[in-house]
Amino acid sequence: MITRTPKLDRRSFIIGTAAVSAGLAVGLRIPFGASVVRAQDGSPEITAWVVIRPDDTVVIRIARSEMGQGTLTGLAQMVAEELECDWSKVTTEYPTPGQSVARKRVWGDFSTGGSRGIRQSNEYVRKGGATARMMLVQAAADKWGVPTSECTVANSVITHAPSGRTTTYGKVAEAAAKLTPPAEVTLKDPKQWKIIGKSVKRLDTLPKVTGAQVYGADLKLPGMLNAAIKDCPVFGGKVKSFEADKVKGMPGVKHVLQVGDSAVAVVAETWWEAKTALDALPIVWDEGPNAAVSSATIAEMLKAGLDANQAFVRNQNGDAKAAIATAGKKVEAVYAYPFQNHATMEPMNATAKYTPERCEVWVPTQNGEAAFAATTAASGLPADKCEVYKINLGGGFGRRGAVHDYVTQAILIAKQVPGTPVKLLWTREEDMTHGRYHPVMQSKLTGALDSAGNLTALHLRLSGQSILSAVFPQLLQDGRDNATFQGLDPSGDFTFGYSVPNLLIDHAMRNTHVPPGFWRGVNINQNAIFLECFMDELAHAAKVDPLEFRRRLMTKHPKHLAVLNAVADRAGWGKPAPQGVHRGLAQMMAFGSYVAACAEVSVTGGDKVKVRRIVCATDPGYAVNPAQIERQIAGSFVYGLSALFMEECTVKAGRIEQENFHAYDSMRIAQMPKVESIIMPSGGFWGGVGEPTICVAAPAVLNAFFAATGKRIRTFPLKNHGITMV
């Protein structure tokens, strides 16, 4: 970790007043230990995940990125549980992507998105801890000449009870590191867990309250220059010309550079000087054909997709179209969801240093390996001449995971000033107008009801943008983007929670020139609104209580139903709410977890909405750190409700119109509802935490708004209807 205490490093650099080592030299085979792999300070590595220092400090390696979601602490808990170490002596560090390449991905996947950090690495990180524990015990047993079966271990202390001897991990680490790892490792039964499942304190809090934590935007390297950048405001456009001479004499300015085809940067002594000069720099853009695109033209294109004959089918049974055609009662609605920007508090940034022999990048990234790939590509250097040092993120939410455009830019700048480190920091305006946006989507939903008020058929048509087409086209399946259907799938981590006799869920893919990206929750945000608000519409059309209406369709989905029932019970669904308070429900399965919410709102003047309370339930299979799960739930609601009420990126003349928070607002503390979390892990599977709950806040609030006003809002954000959050 970039915030740790300095150790000797051949590539030392300066952050603030303290010297901090850039990365880890993990994997370096230093002569003084037979086959022992050593950490930067010479301490022996027991397994790739565990380094033990002589003073008993336990260093746990974390491959995923900490961006606020708590994965660093959760993953350390997983390793520590099996390691049987003293939790108070645990510290963490990030292995570097370059070391990962050199060691054949010994730490597995670095990607930190899709709520995967813990759920997809839990087994191998626990094994990393268990293997280390067995080696440490073996080393102690060897020293004492006793069988390991006579030794016990707890809190980093190994005990041989028959002889009354004890030792600590720090004392046997050298010997343990020389042992061959055991071939077979048995993991604990979850019932035996002592650290997993406990709300231990986060490991990374203190430097965040003192100002000591160094974010990418704060980085300082000796001799470093600062860059500000402007990319063509129209996506796909290019630089035509710029008048560098007009700003070259401005204070601090060192270079005025074109960056790739589409951007111009000013490099100066300070960032403020770079930004000031860039603002004064005349640039002429070749905006290209996309300059004719607007939100209206995009909406028209999507609208046409709602009734298009051709669409990718993801989930179907029976014959929905025929059943709807002959239905006694038909309900139809069209919804639309806008582009949205991630707006991480820390704007995009990366620091790069390039020479023909080596390219190094310091970057807040959700995926060190993807940042590394961007580094090799942009530098043109082979992998063994590149390195990436990860820095904790000032927010990620998906923006810093798949696409590392800011890394590419930083390297393209650094290549033009070889040997000089350059920190590129985007302005908020650049960040807002060059995002990787939440995809734009419309949906037409058609349902058929029988005379008893049962749903006999449902057609959910999506029309809009595919993220995978733009970001990972290799993941399309015969052209179909399965990620578009999150929460609507027939099976898997995003299973549709209702049994409908005749069902059709399909997607008319309509891609735009606005680049899409993974945005916290990704496609469950709009899919949950479409589905769960429409379920509410159907229930009202059928004159059936919305909870009862859903329950009838959920008998084959007991885990979906369990979280829904939990929120209904806790919120008092079916019992009178306080005067003026109205309730709404929503449920979904996403990223492997089952989630539901019951929102309570009051509405004054028809358009001032107070979200008073949201009861949320989640079944993530296992709950590693309940206190952090509670924080992720409440935090996800802030992100989701800000989006619902306030956030839209509109397109005019090919570019995004909203340039800062005055036009793209975000919830404040006054608007925060009371969030009550029910964490109900049922075991046997690993679901995500950071994202799933985000999707149930918006439809639960919308359904409560309908209960309060009788008004159904189907296009977003709500500010476009004059509806505000108070």
Binding site: G16, M345, G394, R428, A634, S666, M667
Partner: protein, 149 residues
């Protein structure tokens, strides 16, 4: 050149007087706990105290801060002892990504100076910082805890 008093230290800072205080603090003085979030006084990540009052330093020119007592997040702890707001932040594990928290803490510290026992309504009126991670539930708890400390 500007004469600034930051965290009790008198400093001569080589900077154009129109430079926002934020950037003088971050780039000339080298204190990076104060963050750039928006540059237009919307988000509050850059909040510092100027003569004890919470100020969004991204829109205050250095010239306007001369002769005043400026306190940044680095100056909040006294002799290595956390301020009661920082302590409450640790106890309640408020920060997630943490980027906005320095500004949030400075805004809260200024509020508690003015209103040692703020009501929820006081908090709603005074604390308008943006936090994209959504830490508000813990922020409110921690403010009340700090007020009782």
């Amino acid at each position: 050149m500007a004469r600034l008093t930051i965290n009790g230290k008198a400093l001569e800072v080589k900077v154009n007087p129109s430079t926002p205080l934020l950037w003088a603090i971050r780039e000339q003085v080298g204190l990076t706990g104060t963050k750039y979030g928006c540059g237009v006084a919307q988000c509050g990540a850059c909040t510092v105290h100027v003569d004890g009052k919470a100020v969004r330093s991204c829109v205050m020119p250095v010239a306007a801060a001369e002769g005043k007592q400026i306190t940044t997040i680095e100056g909040l702890a006294a002799n290595g002892t956390l301020n009661k707001v920082q302590k409450a932040w640790v106890d309640h594990e408020v920060p997630q990504c943490g980027y906005c928290q320095a500004g949030m803490i400075m805004a809260v510290a200024a509020l508690l100076k003015e209103k040692p026992k703020p009501t929820d309504a006081d908090i709603d009126r005074s604390i308008t910082n943006i936090c994209r991670c959504g830490t508000f539930q813990q922020v409110r708890e921690a403010i009340h805890a700090a007020a009782k400390a």
